[in-house]
């Protein structure tokens, strides 16, 4: 059985099924799917023999047979309310089992120059733009999950903000997996195009809505930030602890643009985030924040590759992890500074707090520098709660669990404080409290 698993047959049934369902698609897209599928057949799933996958086993993915979800699975309103953020209901796109659910979604009147719709619709209505940008930053010939996504992509969000336009209200995306979604593979594809001086902000939530079973999310998001464009991006990952969640986030930045991203993981059984940044314009800026709080046997792997290609570019990556029980995390980041990228100011930090002796972290921030006038630092720490600090708090009357919670929240505060949207910040803080056995903040 197992030797079938790394090969493409595993997903070929899905591919045939999807091919029938997408027969009316434009020729270029069908070709992209075929190329993706062939490439995946050749590449197979990554193995731990590959340096980039050394500490992450895809066994749970190999061991499951996946199906394609049918559209229209019901999700109760309470579930939507539980995962959505107060004040961000204006533009709310809900995807259930990987497919856009129009009844549960609402898109209010958009400012001039802003186009927001599911990708499926954009393929029809905005074909030229989709064709021009989709896949520009990805490489399906080299990366198996990209190939798989090309072959099986079903839906996602499409956002285009014309030059000078501003999507003032944050856009909320809910990717939910319903009871019917158990055992399915959802290949999400998001495309975000910001023209010169455009601005937008996004909150993306991935969550289980009524299933504890294994399911597989393979998401790709491509971001194009033209000159002086600004984008804030939040991912809050709350999948079920059996879920397999693979994501790739590609950001292409032109001069003076700013990308601020936050990747926050509470859920998932096996999680891998790939973050690719190509900083291709003078003085553009990338602020990449991450927080993971894991328990049980959860495993989260953050892989990151940030290329400085022009001058005067600051990039700052701060990823912090809190690991309980037998959970494990991997961080591998590389900042690659091209010869032209003088005056680079790059900083990459990964800090981890282990709450037990059985939690594990492998961390490796790296620099590769070909310019000579740069300021680059990187660092990683793995530590435990300070017992003296804990004793201090307890000796004043704070119970042990509450004292631990205070210290853990203090550790996470570097990241939570950077969350600019208040309702998102509150939710993250409440999730931390919940994890730490504390009541939500009054």
């Amino acid at each position: 059985m197992t030797d079938v698993l790394t090969k493409a047959e595993k997903f070929s049934g899905l591919f045939e099924q999807l091919r029938a369902a997408t027969a009316g698609e434009p020729q270029w897209l069908t070709e992209r799917r075929t190329r993706g599928f062939d490439s995946f057949a050749e590449l197979g799933l990554p193995t731990q023999a590959m340096e980039e996958w050394r500490f992450t086993s895809l066994k749970p993915l190999q061991e499951t047979e996946f199906t394609l979800a049918a559209p229209g699975a019901p999700v109760a309103q309470e579930v939507i309310d539980c995962y959505s953020y107060a004040g961000l209901e204006k533009h709310q796109l809900v995807f259930v089992d990987g497919i856009y659910h129009s009844e549960l979604s609402s898109i209010a009147k958009l400012p001039k120059g802003v186009t927001l719709m599911p990708l499926r619709q954009a393929i029809v209505e905005k074909e030229d733009l989709v064709r021009q940008y989709l896949g520009r930053e990805t490489n399906p010939d080299k990366h198996a999950f990209t190939a798989l996504n090309d072959a099986l992509m079903q839906d996602g969000v499409f956002l285009h903000v014309a030059a000078g336009a501003v999507a003032e209200e944050p856009i909320q995306l809910l990717f939910l997996t319903s009871e019917r979604g158990a055992g399915t593979a959802a290949n999400l594809r998001n495309l975000v195009i910001l023209e010169e001086s455009a601005e937008a902000s996004f909150v993306e939530t991935h969550a289980a809505a009524g299933t504890d079973a294994v399911y597989f999310t393979n998401a790709i998001t491509e971001f194009f930030s033209a000159k002086n464009a600004k984008v804030d991006h939040y991912v809050i990952q709350r999948e079920s602890t059996s879920a397999i969640h693979i994501s790739s986030f590609h950001a292409y930045q032109e001069r003076d643009s700013v990308v601020r991203s936050h990747t926050i993981d509470f859920g998932g059984g096996l999680v891998r985030h790939n973050l690719w940044g190509r900083l291709d314009g003078d003085a553009c800026e990338a602020i990449l924040n991450g927080l993971y709080m894991l328990r049980g046997n959860q495993h989260v792997d953050n892989f990151m590759w940030v290329e400085h290609m022009k001058e005067h570019i600051p990039s700052h990556e701060l990823y912090k992890g809190i690991l309980d029980d037998s959970s494990s995390a991997v961080f591998s980041g590389r900042i690659y500074v091209h010869r032209e990228a003088q005056k680079t100011d790059a900083k990459q930090t990964n800090q981890n707090l282990l709450l037990t002796d059985t939690a594990k972290v492998n961390t490796k921030p790296q620099l590769e520098i070909y310019a000579d006038d740069v300021k680059c630092t990187h660092g990683a720490t793995i530590g435990q709660l300070d017992p003296q600090a804990q004793f201090y708090l307890e000796s004043r009357g704070v119970p042990r669990n509450a004292a631990r919670a205070l210290l853990v929240k203090a550790f996470a505060s570097d990241i939570t404080e950077r969350i600019r949207l208040e309702s998102v910040r509150n939710t993250v803080e409440n999730l931390l409290n919940e994890r730490l056995g504390q009541d939500p903040e009054s």
Binding site: S395, R396, G397, V398, A402, L407
Partner: protein, 256 residues
């Protein structure tokens, strides 16, 4: 109020307290003096419930009940307080936020209503004035970036907020200039009362001019070697600990 009987405590296998006896009655102020390394901080930390130490003999009774089995927070909830010789810096945890949680868990344990943020702040501001602690230190992370003197004042501020029945202050006077010493001593004196007991651990007679003790003990090598009135502190200041040591040796030899 507090009764310590034959207390033996060790750390990493080294016995530091070798059968220590000490009784502090309600309303009394005691001073403990003694050479470096004699076990004064050990005693304070064992009373507060530090798990770094193992108690291998004797007992500590608070209001007649043994507290050895209680966790540090439970001891605090019963009304015990220790001011640290070296207050710990805790980045990211704000002074008032944590102290409100501390006070509320103490109040809860005593069956009192918890204080709202507003009520707590009013209470905290009043106590901060008592030790002349600047308002901005209330909001800052616990002890982070505080000067040595500010840290010590913060300890007494916390004591004032929590209103413990029994406090042991471990060298709260060390590192204080004369003004700060007066402020801290004032704060402590305001907390004196017929139902409160305080033990001050100090190397300096100077503090005892401000906080006049009822009883002075000399702790040498893990035992109380001498107990007397406030004049004992003055004697010590003049001649040092050597004569106490000498007496101890003689006593031990006599016992043997």
């Amino acid at each position: 109020m507090l009764e310590i009987k034959g207390l033996k405590a060790q750390i990493e296998g080294n016995e530091i307290l070798h059968g220590l006896n000490l009784t502090v009655n309600p309303g009394e102020v005691h001073a403990i003096m003694g050479p470096n390394g004699s076990g004064k901080s050990t005693l304070a930390r064992v009373i507060a419930g530090s798990e770094d130490y193992e108690v291998t003999g004797g007992d500590i009774l608070f209001e007649g009940e043994s507290i050895l089995e209680l966790a540090p927070d439970e001891r605090a909830q019963k009304g015990l307080f220790m001011a640290f010789q070296y207050p710990v810096e805790i980045p990211g945890v704000s002074n008032t936020y944590f102290l409100r949680q501390a006070l509320n868990s103490i109040r809860k344990a005593r069956g009192l209503e918890e204080l709202t943020g507003k009520e707590f702040l009013a209470h905290a501001r009043e106590k901060a004035r008592l030790v002349e602690l600047p308002d901005d230190l209330l909001k800052r992370s616990v002890n982070v970036g505080f000067s040595g003197g500010e840290k010590k004042r913060n300890e007494i501020f916390q004591m004032a907020v929590l209103e413990p029945k029994f406090s042991i202050l471990d060298e709260t006077d060390s590192g204080l200039d004369i003004d700060a010493l007066r402020i801290v001593a004032n704060g402590v004196n305001k907390l004196r009362g017929s139902d409160r007991s305080i033990v001050v651990v100090t190397h300096y007679q100077r503090l005892l001019q401000y906080i006049v003790p009822d009883v002075v003990h000399v702790l040498v090598d893990g035992r109380i070697a001498k107990t007397g009135g406030k004049e004992l502190a003055e004697q010590l200041e003049e001649v040092g600990y050597s004569w106490v040591n000498g007496e101890m040796k003689t006593a031990q030899t006599a016992n043997a």
